[in-house]
């Protein structure tokens, strides 16, 4: 359609949001210094403007990638640092995979920023919020565009930083600051694997450029064990970012940030980064049997395990958080089953309906002052737009024909059926569980009678919930349209073609192709409907009250309520007892009493010796003399021993 995008315009996609961040930061600094030229409202406008421009350029970039069949549009990398044998380049990798991600990130981010104009209105940290959001978006775009793995890591960490800052945005709240620190530390634990993998691959290949790493791996010059460790280490980092078992614990707590932040984290940034990273390095996984099996197993376990948690959570955002973890599990399980394009396609569709669901949750919170579904109910009447858009997003998540989730999930299931039957069955059970928690969420929130809300951030307990302002509803309506339609983009296998084109040509054959099977599609839709029906029976019609079920399954219910005791294990036992109370405290005491004790003991001894020998005048200098003497005596003895 258009001419190919020039490199400067491609870089502008990354740099525009970063510039928006820099301008808001400098303006805030000036304001704090007394030069009050900047109005907070401008921060919001500037962010929307920058990201809208980035979206337009991203669409151009996508067009260029489509024209080149998804193959890399060759921008030469630029030298950043050279030290001896180490050369670090930075470059913009534009291909089908990154172009699709650019559009997802800018598109979802734009919706979220528009919505935030309403949601964050009046917050004292308004400018700070949009500064961080700009940085967050820019960092994610930089990650997507990175041509070298070290460059990717730089933006990877910046994405982590922004989610830290935004989760802890309301830093006066105890829960928010805890959640922020937890998110950073847990993801950084995974990053240890990623750093080690980068060190390993550089040692073995001398390359940091991703395309050249692929060349080396595909040429078979790298030992198989190295590829396996490399892929495994990268996956540790990806599991941290994408909240895969057992590093998923930070994501449910990340709810403490403002809700639009959650929408962005869960849809297009942060958690998408891990899946994207594994997809970006797909050739290495396809060649490392142990690594890719690990990805498949962890993904499937995560998908089931967190869907179960979603069934018992009472906080609407937590339900959605567990849903995200579960869906990320689907994507990872898909990548682990060689379903390269379907997994990324699922990331693509998921981004729109999950962003919509979070914005809907924010809208509900705006009206009721609470996220606790036990205090909602009956909102369908007072909030019709929120109700309709959220329902559409929810049904897309369940995967009902012909909504977005149906197409991508079906492809995942079809490939898993061919490649890894065990994963297929797990994911199929997951479809039922997904429908169950989604139905439960809808019925608790929108059906029945209103249960009163809560005095929340906006100060009053609203007796009559009202619909949100248009600036919040508009993005929801647009996203609802996308959640309904975006699955159709791949009807002619266009998206798949685009994505597979991003792989090195030798690796294109390694990715499995999905074959439509009517039986699988019918089964998954049927299970989805069954799940919704069960949810209706329990939470809508209350044929079987949920309390009875909880009582009947008490041990399981308790296990789920305590989130499998993993938080207790990590925070209480490992961090609290072993690392802090055990190792760190032990070393602290050792350092204080033993190491320093010996030093002080020697000083004391030297002083007494000096006193006895009357080597110096009274007072401190004798100690100094004694020390110098001690050193010289030791040195002399050594000299004598060395020269007999």
């Amino acid at each position: 359609m258009f001419d190919p995008i020039p490199e400067a315009a491609a870089w502008a996609i990354v740099l525009l949001p970063l510039a928006s961040f820099a301008i808001i930061a400098l303006a805030s600094l000036l304001s704090a210094s007394g030069v009050r030229l900047w109005r907070p409202a401008w921060s919001g406008y500037l962010t929307v403007l920058a990201i809208a421009a980035a979206l337009a350029l991203s669409v151009w970039a996508l067009d260029s990638a489509v024209q080149s069949d998804g193959h890399a549009v060759g921008f030469a990398p630029h030298e950043w640092v050279t030290v001896g044998p180490l050369t670090v380049d930075i470059g913009f990798r534009l291909d089908g995979l990154s172009a699709l991600m650019l559009v997802v990130v800018t598109g979802v981010s734009l919706m979220v920023q528009v919505y935030s104009q309403g949601y964050m209105a009046g917050d004292p940290g308004y400018s700070r919020y949009f500064a961080f959001m700009s940085l967050f978006t820019g960092a994610m775009l930089g990650l997507v565009a990175a041509s070298s793995i070290l460059q990717l890591f730089v933006f990877w960490e910046l994405v982590g930083l922004c989610s830290y800052l935004l989760i802890g945005f309301w830093f006066h709240r105890e829960a928010a600051r805890r959640a922020a620190t937890k998110a950073f530390l847990v993801t950084r634990l995974g990053d240890l694997g990623l750093i080690s993998a980068i060190l390993l691959i550089w040692w073995q290949t001398g390359e940091l450029d991703i395309a050249r790493i692929h060349e080396a791996v595909l040429a078979g010059t790298v030992p198989a064990a190295v590829v396996a460790y490399f892929a495994g280490g990268v996956f540790a980092g990806a599991a941290g970012k994408s909240a895969q078992f057992p590093l998923h614990v930070w994501l449910p707590d990340a709810m403490e940030g403002p809700t639009p932040v959650s929408a962005l984290i869960h849809a297009a940034t942060m958690v998408a980064a891990g899946v994207y990273l594994v997809a970006r390095l797909f050739p290495a996984y396809a060649l490392a049997e142990e690594a890719i099996t690990t990805v498949a197993v962890i993904g499937a376990v995560t998908a089931i395990m967190s869907a179960l948690l979603g069934v018992v959570a009472t906080d609407i955002k937590r339900v959605l958080a567990y849903s995200t973890i579960s869906q990320l599990g689907y994507m990872m399980a898909g990548l682990g089953s060689l379903a390269f394009a379907p997994a990324m396609f699922h990331l693509f569709t998921h981004a729109f309906f999950k962003a919509l669901l979070f914005l809907g949750a924010g809208s509900v919170n705006h009206a009721t002052g609470t996220f606790d579904m036990r205090r909602m109910g009956g909102l369908a009447r007072s909030m019709p737009v929120t109700f309709l858009t959220m329902s559409l997003g929810a049904l897309a998540l369940v995967g009902l024909f012909p909504l977005a989730g149906f197409w991508s999930k079906d492809e995942l299931l079809a490939v898993a059926w061919d490649e890894r039957p065990a994963v297929f069955w797990a994911l199929l059970v997951g479809v039922f569980l997904t429908a169950l928690y989604v139905g439960r969420m809808l019925f608790l929130t929108f059906a029945g009678e209103y249960r009163g809300g809560e005095a929340g951030a906006h100060g009053h307990a609203p007796s009559h919930p009202h619909e949100s302002p248009p600036v919040m509803l508009l993005p929801m309506v647009l996203l609802a349209g996308l959640a309904a339609a975006v699955g159709l983009t791949n009807l002619g296998h266009g998206v798949e073609h685009l994505l597979v084109g991003a792989l090195p040509s030798e690796a294109e054959g390694l990715a499995a192709e999905p074959h439509f099977r009517f039986g699988i599609a019918a089964a998954s839709v049927a299970l989805g409907l069954a799940g919704l029906a069960v949810a209706w029976a329990i939470y809508g019609a209350r044929v079987v009250p949920s309390e009875d079920i909880a009582r009947a399954l008490a041990p399981l219910h308790r296990l789920l309520e305590r989130r499998y005791y993993l938080d207790d294990l990590y925070e209480g036992v490992i961090t609290g007892r072993l690392v802090l109370a055990g190792l760190a405290r032990g070393l602290y005491l050792w350092d204080r009493y033993v190491v320093d004790g010996i030093v002080n003991g020697i000083a004391q001894g030297a002083r007494e010796t000096a006193d006895r020998l009357r080597l110096a005048q009274a007072g401190q200098p004798q100690v100094y003399g004694a020390f110098l003497a001690l050193g010289i005596v030791v040195a002399t003895v050594v000299v004598l021993l060395a020269n007999p």
Partner: protein, 488 residues
């Protein structure tokens, strides 16, 4: 030029000390002017250094002591190369910062600023001496101002800490002196330029390995390396803010500089054999330092202990023996100076207002001092190795350089990065975040120009080095290449 720059602060110190009592308030202005002149000189040298020219430039050489009896001469010999020049610049920069944040010193200001400037001369001398004996003299000269600065203007157990610092250093110096003399007599010269061309030592009074070990003890105390580190937390904690900045920012680097300049470039054969041993001590310092840091309840002590951990990366990079690791080690010295310098400045600003450094007593300070909180968070992020800030560049270079030689020990070092995130974020979470405490109702933010200017300058440089590291890294690379080629 180099001699002028090195001794100009001493002249400034004399002028400050001789100010009449009635003109006491001029002391800080005079000190600031002096430090700015030096900073200007350092920047000029940095710009004028020919990156394709000779290794040592701006050399000043004069015979100082020569004897007919003994076959050696001691010379007054100054010069800088790619390794020392950035450290000279760092010294000039941090001294200016130190003068500014001491603006409100009201206890004997003339003496205070005079000692601070005298300290600068000794530090510049250490980094620009090319004669071993001269190096030793400057290395020792630093103790005098340091002792007075800590014991008079310090806090807490300041006299104990000052003595502890002096005694530790002296203990190491005795070994260094023997090592230097043994080297000089064996080679017949104290000129570092000639020593670093020399082949394996013959006919020394001591085996090369023992000389190496002696020098390592001296520099290992300064760096510091666990278990020779216990002077550091005491001295850093009890020193006044500006002195903590210089201590952490520059003085520790004398250790790392000595290791590279003396141990590695003069005795490369021993360094090769000791590589594994050094890497093990580096990993020990990194992990031990970080774990002990986790337990600290005093803000300043926390940052002091984090220095033990961070300086471990210098030794780790050095143990790699290659140009990448050595450049990383040198970069780590530079970035740690900036980052930890800034951390100490910020802790000083907090202490000026709250008069406590006990972490459990502090809470929600971000509400009262948003500027201090913001800069502290930036400094903390740089300290935990966040990309785009200075600390990351040096750490990743160290890791990349060391991994090919010591895989397991490097991964242990990487673990230190996780622990760093732990102690920094927990500190930020407890001190700056949280509900505003009524106890800190009345305190204000840092608004004075002498608080804002140095902190903003440090943030700007930390960002610059983080985003465009080549600005300094190219020079360091040039500096370590001769060392790396001797090791290789």
């Amino acid at each position: 030029m180099l001699s002028f720059m090195t001794f100009f602060p001493l002249a400034g110190a004399a002028a400050v000390a001789l100010l009449p009592r009635a003109r006491e308030t001029w002391a800080r202005w005079l000190a600031l002017a002096t430090s700015l002149v030096v900073l200007g000189c350092a920047l000029a040298l940095f710009a004028a250094y020919d990156r394709d020219g000779a290794q040592f430039q701006f050399v000043d050489a004069h015979t100082w002591l020569s004897s007919d009896v003994a076959p050696f001469t001691v010379r007054y010999l100054l010069g800088v190369d790619g390794l020392s020049l950035p450290l000279v610049l760092l010294t000039a920069f941090l001294t200016t910062v130190a003068v500014l944040i001491s603006w409100n010193i009201d206890l004997r200001p003339r003496e205070y600023f005079a000692w601070l400037l005298a300290l600068e001369t000794s530090l510049l001398g250490v980094f620009s001496s090319l004669d071993l004996v001269l190096f030793f003299l400057f290395f020792e000269l630093e103790l005098l101002p340091m002792y007075f600065l800590i014991s008079i203007w310090g806090t807490g157990r300041r006299v104990y800490s000052a003595w502890k610092y002096v005694l530790f250093t002296f203990f190491g110096s005795a070994f260094m002196l023997v090592g230097i003399l043994a080297l000089g007599f064996a080679a017949g010269t104290f000129d570092m330029r000639e020593l670093q061309q020399m082949g394996p030592l013959r006919e020394a009074v001591l085996p090369a390995a023992v000389i190496f070990a002696f020098l390592m003890i001296a520099f290992g105390i300064k760096l510091p390396v666990v278990p020779l580190h216990t002077w550091l937390p005491d001295a850093h904690t009890d020193a006044p803010t500006a002195v903590s900045v210089i201590l952490a920012g520059v003085l520790l680097k004398m250790g790392g500089y000595g290791i590279l300049r003396l141990c590695f470039s003069i005795l490369p054969q021993v360094a090769r054999d000791a590589s594994l041993f050094l890497a093990a001590f580096a990993a020990l310092s990194i992990l031990y330092g970080a774990l002990v840091t986790l337990m600290q309840q005093d803000l300043k002590r926390l940052i002091a202990y984090s220095s033990v951990s961070h300086m471990g990366y210098v030794l780790l990079g050095a143990s790699a023996l290659g140009s990448v690791g050595l450049t990383g080690a040198a970069m780590q010295m530079f970035t740690h100076g900036l980052v930890t310098g800034l951390l100490f400045v910020m802790v000083g600003l907090v202490y000026d207002r709250t008069h406590t450094r006990a972490i459990p007593e502090l809470s929600g300070l971000a509400h009262r001092m948003p500027y201090v909180a913001t800069v502290m968070v930036i400094a903390g992020l740089a300290s935990l190795g966040l990309p785009s800030l200075a600390g990351f560049v040096s750490e990743i270079t160290v890791f990349l350089g060391t991994f090919p030689r010591h895989q397991l020990l490097t991964v242990l070092g990487v673990l230190g990065v996780l622990l760093a995130a732990g102690y920094i974020l927990w500190m930020v979470q407890r001190v700056f975040w949280g509900e505003p405490s009524p106890r800190w109702q009345g305190i204000g933010d840092a608004v004075a120009w002498w608080e804002r200017v140095p902190t903003l300058a440090l943030v700007a440089v930390i960002l610059l080095v983080g985003i465009y590291p080549a600005a300094v890294m190219d020079l360091f690379e040039r500096g370590v290449l001769p060392i790396a080629s001797r090791l290789g």
